[in-house]
C-alpha cells in the first residue's frame, strides 16, 4: 500500500503545485460566493433558488475537475517520459494505475470539500440551517460519484487519446446525470431495433444519476433510507473497483 500512496501523493502534489485545480476552484468560488449576497426578489423561495444554482455549479465544476485531472494522469507520464524511470522501479503496473486513480480521487475530494464548505456557509447564512442529514448524504454520495468518475476516466485514458477520453467521459457522465432517469422510459418507447443497444447501455454504463441528491437538498426533503443509501455506496464502490481492475489490466498490456 505504501507504494500506491506514494504515487497518489505525487499526483496530488502535482495538481496543486501546477495550480491546475485552482483555476476551476477559483472559477467556482467566483460563481458561488456572489449568491450569498443575492436576495432574489425578496421572497421566501430565495433560499431554494440559491441552493439550486450553487449545487448546479458545484456539480458542474466537480465533473470537470474529476475528468480533466484523471484523464492526464498516465498520458502525462508517457508524454514527458517520466514513465520510464517510474516503470523501472520495483513497482507493478497495477500499483501505478491504482496510485494514479487514488491521487485523482483525493484531489477531487479536496476540491469537493472546498466547494461544499463554501456552499454550506452560503446556504447556512441564508437559511440559518447549516448541515442537514440529507446534505450530509448528498456530500457522501457526491464523493462516491467523484471516485467512480475518476476511476472511469483513468481507465479510459489507457484505451483512448486524452482528448477523445475527456470528450467521451464528459458525454457519458453529463448524459447519465441529465438523462439517466429517462432511460427506462426511452427503452420502453424505442422501436424494437433500438431496444437492445439501449438496454445494453442501461446495464453497462454506471447510473450516475443515483448519486445526485440535489433535488432532495434543494427542497429539504427527508434523507434517503439508510439501506438505499448504503446500496448506492456499494454500487459506486463496485463500479470503481471494476474500472480500476480494467485500468490495471490495460496498463499491464502496454509496451513502452
Amino acid at each position: 500500500m505504501g507504494k500506491i500512496f506514494a504515487i497518489a501523493k505525487l499526483s496530488v502534489l502535482e495538481l496543486f503545485r501546477k495550480k491546475d485545480v485552482y483555476v476551476a476552484i477559483v472559477l467556482a468560488l467566483v460563481a458561488i460566493v456572489p449568491l450569498a449576497v443575492v436576495n432574489a426578489f425578496g421572497i421566501e423561495g430565495a433560499v431554494r433558488y440559491i441552493r439550486e444554482v450553487a449545487l448546479l455549479l458545484v456539480w458542474g465544476f466537480s465533473v470537470i475537475i474529476c475528468v480533466t485531472t484523471s484523464a492526464r494522469q498516465i498520458p502525462n507520464e508517457t508524454q514527458r517520459k517520466t514513465i520510464l524511470p517510474l516503470l523501472a522501479k520495483p513497482v507493478s503496473r497495477a500499483q501505478i494505475a491504482l496510485g494514479k486513480t487514488l491521487g485523482s480521487i483525493i484531489a477531487s475530494w479536496g476540491a469537493l470539500a472546498m466547494f461544499y464548505g463554501c456552499y454550506i456557509v452560503i446556504a447556512g447564512l441564508k437559511s440559518g440551517i447549516w448541515i442537514e442529514p440529507v446534505l450530509l448524504q448528498s456530500v457522501i454520495l457526491h464523493a462516491c460519484f467523484a471516485a467512480l468518475a475518476c476511476s472511469m476516466t483513468v481507465c479510459g485514458s489507457l484505451a483512448l487519446t486524452p482528448s477523445a477520453n475527456i470528450t467521451a467521459c464528459l458525454l457519458i457522465i453529463a448524459g447519465g446525470l441529465l438523462f439517466g432517469d429517462h432511460l427506462p422510459d426511452l427503452i420502453n418507447k424505442a422501436p424494437g431495433l433500438f431496444r437492445p443497444p439501449l438496454i445494453g447501455l442501461e446495464y453497462v454504463l454506471p447510473r450516475f444519476e443515483l448519486f445526485d441528491l440535489r433535488a432532495r437538498v434543494i427542497h429539504s426533503h427527508a434523507p434517503v433510507p439508510a439501506g438505499v443509501f448504503l446500496f448506492i455506496l456499494l454500487y459506486g464502490a463496485a463500479y470503481s473497483a471494476v474500472f480500476m481492475g480494467l485500468a490495471a489490466g490495460l496498463f499491464k498490456r502496454k509496451q513502452y
Binding site: K3, K18, K81, P85, A88, P90, Y256
Partner: protein, 241 residues
C-alpha cells in the same frame, strides 16, 4: 563468476512490423562494465527496455540477475538511468529521491541517508531544495544518476550516461562508475561514444540494425593498436550491412 544478464535468441518486433532486435544472444558477467555500442537506431534502447521489462520480447529468453525483468522483485536490484533526463520538474531533488525511495520500499531514514550520500557524490548537496525545473541538463543527468543509485542496485543500466555532461562532470561520472565496479556492481552501458567505452568498459558489444555484430573484450576490439576503435567500429558496422 555468475551472470548478471543472459539472453538467448532475443528478438523484438514493433507492432508496425519493424524489427527492433533480432536474435540477440549475450551474457554479461557480474561485476563487469559492458559497453553496448551502435549507431542511432541500432536497437540499444530497445534492448534496454527489454532488460527493464518495459516491453516483452517477441521471441527468445531473457534473465536479469536470475529473474524475469517484468517481475518487480527483479527490478528491485536494477538501477536505470534513462537517455533523456526527464523527471518531475515540480519536485526538488530531495522530494524526487523520497518518491523513488518509497517505490523501492526504503525506510524514511535510509532514504535521507542515501540522499545526502548521493548528493555529495554527484555535487548536488547544495541543490537539495531547488526545484528540478531550475536544473541544467548536466545537473538533471546527475539527479538521474542519484535516482538510479538510490536503492544500491546490483546492476546499473545506463542509457547514454554522458549525454549533456561537461568534461569535468564526465570525468566525475567515470570516477563514480569505476568506484561502483570496485564495489562489485555490474554496469550495462549504452553509448555511441567510442572513446568513453574504450576508457571504461571491460567488454563491448556492437549492435547494428537490431543484430549483434561483434562482442568481446574491449582490448580485442581496439586490437594491437594498428587501427583505432573508431575504425574497427566502422568496419564492423559496414560488414554488418
Amino acid at each position: 563468476m555468475t551472470q548478471a544478464v543472459v539472453c538467448h535468441h532475443l528478438s523484438f518486433t514493433y507492432p508496425n512490423g519493424h524489427q527492433g532486435l533480432h536474435d540477440l544472444s549475450l551474457s554479461i558477467e557480474q561485476g563487469e562494465i559492458f559497453g553496448f555500442l551502435g549507431p542511432n537506431g541500432a536497437g540499444k534502447t530497445t534492448t534496454i527496455k527489454l532488460l527493464l521489462g518495459l516491453m516483452k520480447p517477441t521471441a527468445g529468453d531473457l534473465l536479469v540477475l536470475g529473474g524475469k525483468p517484468a517481475e518487480p522483485k527483479t527490478r528491485a536490484a536494477i538501477g536505470y538511468l534513462p537517455e533523456v533526463a526527464n523527471y518531475y520538474d515540480f519536485l526538488t531533488i530531495g522530494e524526487l529521491l523520497s518518491f523513488y525511495g518509497a517505490l523501492c520500499g526504503m525506510s524514511r531514514q535510509k532514504i535521507n541517508d542515501r540522499t545526502m550520500e548521493l548528493a555529495q557524490l554527484t555535487g548536488l548537496e547544495t541543490r537539495l531544495k531547488t526545484p528540478l525545473r531550475q536544473f541544467s541538463k548536466g545537473m538533471l543527468q546527475r539527479a538521474g544518476l542519484c535516482q538510479a543509485l538510490l536503492h544500491d542496485p546490483a546492476l546499473l543500466i545506463l542509457d547514454e550516461p554522458m549525454t549533456g555532461l561537461d568534461p569535468i562532470a564526465r570525468s566525475q561520472m567515470r570516477g563514480i562508475l569505476e568506484n561502483l565496479r570496485k564495489d562489485g556492481k555490474t554496469i550495462f552501458f549504452s553509448s555511441h561514444e567510442l572513446s568513453e567505452a574504450e576508457i571504461m568498459c571491460d567488454r563491448v558489444g556492437v549492435l547494428c540494425d537490431g543484430g549483434l555484430r561483434w562482442h568481446g573484450p574491449t582490448r580485442d576490439m581496439a586490437g594491437d593498436g594498428s587501427e583505432n576503435l573508431e575504425r574497427k567500429f566502422l568496419k564492423i558496422i559496414s560488414e554488418g550491412k
